[in-house]
């Protein structure tokens, strides 16, 4: 593994990633070494199994969902096409959602919205619910997420009514699903910028 970690990224590759994700040079190299250490297959890509090997993810209730989020095509597509590999670019692209928003980024023109913008952060969270990628959170999808996060103490019945209530709360157009716009609306006041950011070490 040592040899792989030392196989450095090409400079132009770093530049591209920097441009796309906004990570700093040192962050990219640091995350690259993490990437290679996760890459047990040593083929420059990460598979689902590579992620699943991280012990903490096993006890994270949303672990599998988050692993899925690294595979851009979504779960169902993956099953069909068996395209369950993610390269470093994709890895970084996903992580970039969690980069804190810096002051100088706030006034950028919205055309080139960075990956860590509020909307993209929200979209990431939304996709964690939206398993079938129909841009709607249905009752079933919500129920699945709830089941993952809520302890066994709550009965299915109660969980069902929680899900109903949640949807009813957010649903404005009466299709009994939560669309992305409705999702944004509900979380209007939430400090998503802060709550969906972590400090990446330099």
């Amino acid at each position: 593994m040592g040899s792989r970690a030392s196989r450095l990224l090409r400079e132009e590759e770093i530049e591209e990633i920097k441009k796309e994700t906004g990570f700093s040079h040192s962050q990219i190299t640091r995350l690259y070494s993490r990437f290679t250490s996760l890459d047990k297959g040593e083929n420059g890509t990460l598979s689902r199994e590579d992620f699943q090997r991280i012990p903490e993810l096993a006890i994270n209730p949303l672990g599998d969902r988050i692993i899925n989020a690294f595979f851009p095509e979504g779960y169902f597509v993956l099953v069909i096409f068996r395209e369950d590999q993610v390269n470093f670019r994709g890895f970084m692209r996903t992580l970039a959602h969690f980069r804190p928003i810096e002051d100088n980024e706030k006034n950028k023109n919205p055309a080139t919205e960075p990956l860590n913008s509020r909307t993209n952060k929200l979209l990431f969270a939304f996709r964690l619910y939206d398993l079938d990628r129909d841009d709607k959170i249905s009752r079933d999808e919500l129920l699945q997420v709830l089941r993952m996060m809520v302890g066994v103490n709550i009965s299915d019945e109660q969980l069902g009514s929680i899900a109903d209530r949640t949807i009813q709360e957010a649903d404005t157009n009466g299709d009994s699903c939560i669309s992305f716009n409705e999702f944004i609306k509900v979380l209007e006041k939430v400090d998503v910028e802060q709550k969906m950011s972590i400090r990446f070490l330099h």
Binding site: P100, F124, L128, K195, I198
Partner: protein
């Protein structure tokens, strides 16, 4: 706690040297010549009496102040309380020419402060506190040391430079003075920041600092006090190291004591189910004990009580009964607010004392200046460093407010009074300076705080409404962040938070929380619960506003009921859009009524009926009947019980029965007169008509449609003469009744007959209609008035067993008269 409180005040007044008061008292010294019928015993109660009186006076001050809203908008309450203290002190001075009352350290530290600290610990927003714990600790420890050292050294420097004239104060004494001035005071901070509503991060940093720096202050104070006693010559490296060690021992020891007591409280509340009345008392007593224990071990008492409160809050809230939780909450606020008031008033009173006023312009002004300036420097420097490690840096204007919020208060004053006059010659100057700093910070900075916050446009606390999706998504965010940190291989805040949560769930919760409470503890469920409670409250308020909602006995019933209903609703009718599911309780009740073909009864009855439906057990219903039947007079006229504070419903019941009796008599009189009226006439009343007829013209706010949208539930207006409103079915021939307005007793049986097949509205329903004269009960109703208790019971049981359509059908068959004829109005249920 009441005894504790009284005891507090007792000692408080003891220390106030009340014998100085020249109140005439009847002396029992003279030999009695005859049996006195009434004697004047002022001496017996003088202390207690004065204590109570002072508390009353302080609180009256607050009352007066709060009565003037236009003043409190500009000047914080704490400043006004101090001012009223000045006035009171002036009055005493004018009467006695000597200050007999002042805030003594003992009273302050042992009786007034603990409650405030316990309250702030218990109501600490835990997550916010621990998220910012790093910043809080840095400010509390390093910031306070910096304040103390810089103030002491600068004053000493100025002294050496000759700015203060001739003072007998050495370097160590300056440092001692600096250390007592260093601590930001939690009471003052709370009092001012409570009214300003700055954003929560800013608040928690200042407030957390003010709580936690106590450990530092106490250590610094003790260390320098000891150094002053030792004298400069005997201080060596070993002593200084001891001082540093003692800091850690005091701070961590205090916190550990607090944690131990927090665990004890949590464990205790696990098993106080049977003594619910005094359950809340445990929190107070144990909290106070944690304070005293830490004090006994010469550890930091404030830290101990703070952590005790922080730790136990979650478990206490889960373990105790809801009403006990509320009691704790309010009682704590009463005590904390009460002692806060007393503290400020007495801070004012203490000032009116000739003895302590030793003026030294240089010393006093320089102290005020240094306190103010070094606070700014310290905060800016520390926060500048901290910002480099913060995810969201604290903004510059926030730092200004943080510095400006460095209020000194009663803790500094209490410590100053504790100084030993033998060792420190200028004690009075120090007290006087402390008071001036306190007044400067609390009054001047307090008054200017709000305009400053406005002017700088500091981010204020946002008022947010809880929503379920928000809560769930927040939880999701947390999990996601932990996962991302794991994936990217970093160990950050989220990593530790994740670990802690895991640890807590695995070890602490099963240990400290009742098994039955663990469900409630889930925060998604908790939000759900709260939202439901809110709905129920709104529902009740709305109903009461409209004048008839006697059927709701308690909130929990309606809640349980609602929850149950929801689940059933979705089971039964999955195809109905969910937005209809939860919208209004009344809808559901209405729906239930129509679905189960149960006419209106009290809510509990519904619930119980449904239970019974599931278990197919009539026992429940019998039990329910037992519970809800009006008690006979013999039964309910029993006295007062200390351990039972259920509201006595006797009065209400009597009234209810009376009203119902009168109503029924009226109805039967009417029906006898009017004869039969064809059912059709009733059906004619349209929804609209009915709405128009509501006395005050309010239209019904919720007209949700169940089924294919033609059921309409309304609250009847103040006119509860009939107690029933029905919705008028225009498509299905079902009569759906609004659940029994005015019906308290499920055994009350106006609608004993299953009415699903009713094609007409029972006559008495139309009673509130203007042209009710057209309506009258059927012949059968007139013929078959159930007027014996026996008959009533029969009907009641039949009614109670209509739990499913099958049984109902059966009942229908059993009923001798055809279902088309509505049941007669029942006789007064009081008969039962």
């Amino acid at each position: 706690m009441a005894t504790l409180w009284r005891f507090t005040l007792f000692l408080c007044m003891l220390l106030m040297a009340c014998e100085g008061l020249s109140l005439a008292s009847g002396h029992g010294g003279a030999p009695i010549t005859t049996l006195p019928i009434v004697t004047w015993k002022w001496d017996h109660i003088s202390v207690q009496y004065l204590v109570a009186l002072w508390v009353l006076v302080c609180w009256l001050c607050k009352l007066l102040i709060e009565a003037n809203h236009n003043v409190t908008n500009y000047i914080p309450e704490s400043a006004l309380l101090i001012c009223s203290g000045f006035i009171l002190g002036g009055m005493i001075w004018g009467a006695d020419k000597v200050q007999t009352f002042s805030l003594s350290p003992t009273v302050f530290f042992y009786f007034l402060l603990p409650q405030i600290i316990l309250d702030s610990g218990y109501h600490m927003p835990n997550k916010l506190f621990f998220t910012n714990l790093g910043a809080i600790l840095i400010h509390a420890v390093i910031g306070t040391c910096w304040n103390a050292a810089s103030l002491g050294l600068s004053l000493w420097g100025c002294h050496m430079g000759g700015a203060m004239g001739d003072l007998d104060i050495g370097l160590l004494q300056y440092l001692l003075f600096g250390s007592l001035m260093a601590a930001v005071d939690p009471v003052a901070v709370l009092a001012v920041f409570d009214q300003v509503h700055v954003n929560e991060v800013l608040f928690i940093i200042v407030f957390g600092e003010s709580l936690l720096n106590d450990g530092v202050t106490v250590v610094l104070f003790n260390v320098f006090d000891a150094f002053v006693s030792l004298g400069g010559g005997r201080i060596n490296a070993a002593e200084i190291i001891k001082g540093i060690v003692s800091f850690f021992v005091v701070a961590f020891g205090g916190s550990l004591v607090g944690i131990a007591f927090g665990i004890l409280i949590s464990l205790l509340t696990r098993c106080t189910k049977n003594i619910q009345i005094i359950e809340p008392g445990f929190i107070f007593v144990m909290g106070y004990l944690s304070y005293l224990t830490a004090e006994m071990l010469s550890l930091s008492a404030i830290l101990s009580t703070t952590f005790c409160g922080v730790l136990c809050q979650k478990y206490v809230r889960a373990n105790m009964d809801e009403s006990s939780v509320q009691t704790v909450k309010y009682a704590m606020k009463v005590f904390a607010n009460g002692s806060e008031t007393i503290i400020f008033v007495f801070l004012g009173i203490s000032a009116i004392d000739k003895v302590i006023w030793v003026w030294n312009t240089g010393f006093i002004l320089l102290t005020v200046f240094f306190v103010f300036v070094y606070r700014f420097i310290g905060v800016f420097f520390l926060q500048w460093i901290l910002n480099r490690y913060r995810l969201v840096p604290v903004e510059l204007i926030d730092m200004v407010i943080m510095s400006y919020g460095g209020l000194r208060g009663a803790v500094a004053y209490g410590l100053a009074v504790l100084l030993d006059e033998k060792k420190i010659k200028e004690k009075n100057l120090m007290i006087c300076t402390t008071l001036i700093v306190v007044y400067f910070t609390v009054i001047l900075q307090g008054i200017t705080m709000k305009p400053l916050v406005m002017w700088l446009k500091v981010k204020r606390a946002a008022v947010t409404e809880v929503s379920l999706l928000e809560k769930i998504t927040n939880k999701m965010f947390n999990h996601t962040l932990v996962a991302i940190e794991d994936i990217s291989g970093q160990i950050g805040d989220n990593y530790f938070r994740g670990k802690w949560r895991h640890f807590e769930e695995k070890w602490m919760t099963p240990f400290l929380m009742k098994p039955s409470a663990r469900k409630k503890q889930d925060d998604v469920f908790d939000v759900f619960h709260q939202l439901n409670l809110k709905d129920a409250m709104e529902y009740v308020t709305e109903g009461e506003r409209r004048g008839s909602l006697e059927f709701v006995r308690n909130d929990s019933a309606i809640l349980d009921f609602k929850k149950k209903l929801e689940s059933e609703y979705t089971e039964v009718m999955p195809d109905i859009p969910p937005y209809m599911i939860n919208d209004h309780v009344s809808d559901m009740i209405g729906f239930l009524c129509s679905r189960d073909h149960i006419p209106s009864v009290s809510l509990e009855m519904h619930e119980q009926t449904m239970k019974a439906m599931r278990g197919a057990e009539a026992v429940d219903v019998h039990h329910l009947l037992d519970q809800h039947l009006y008690k006979s007079r013999k039964q309910y006229r029993h006295g007062f019980s200390r351990s039972d504070f259920k509201i006595n419903r006797d009065e209400k019941e009597v009234q209810e029965i009376f009203q119902r009796t009168m109503r029924n008599r009226l109805e039967s009189f009417k029906s006898a007169k009017m004869g039969v009226s064809p059912p059709k006439t009733i059906v004619k009343y349209s929804k609209k008509e009915q709405q128009e007829k509501t006395p005050n013209g309010k239209s019904v706010s919720k007209t949700k449609l169940c089924h294919s949208g033609d059921e309409d539930f309304e609250f009847s207006e103040g006119d509860s003469a009939s107690g029933y409103d029905s919705s008028y079915p225009s498509f299905s021939m079902r009569a759906t009744y609004r659940p029994g307005g005015g019906i308290e007793n499920p055994a009350f049986v106006p609608d004993l007959y299953p009415t699903d097949l009713l094609q007409e509205i029972p006559p008495w329903l139309a009673e509130s209609e203007p042209d009710s004269s057209m309506v009258a009960p059927s012949l059968r109703a007139q013929a078959n008035l159930p007027n014996s208790p026996m008959e009533m019971r029969r009907l009641g049981l039949l009614r109670a067993s209509t739990r499913s359509t099958d049984t109902k059908q059966m009942n229908n068959d059993q009923l001798p008269p055809p279902p088309t004829s509505p049941p007669p109005p029942p006789p007064p249920s009081g008969q039962m």
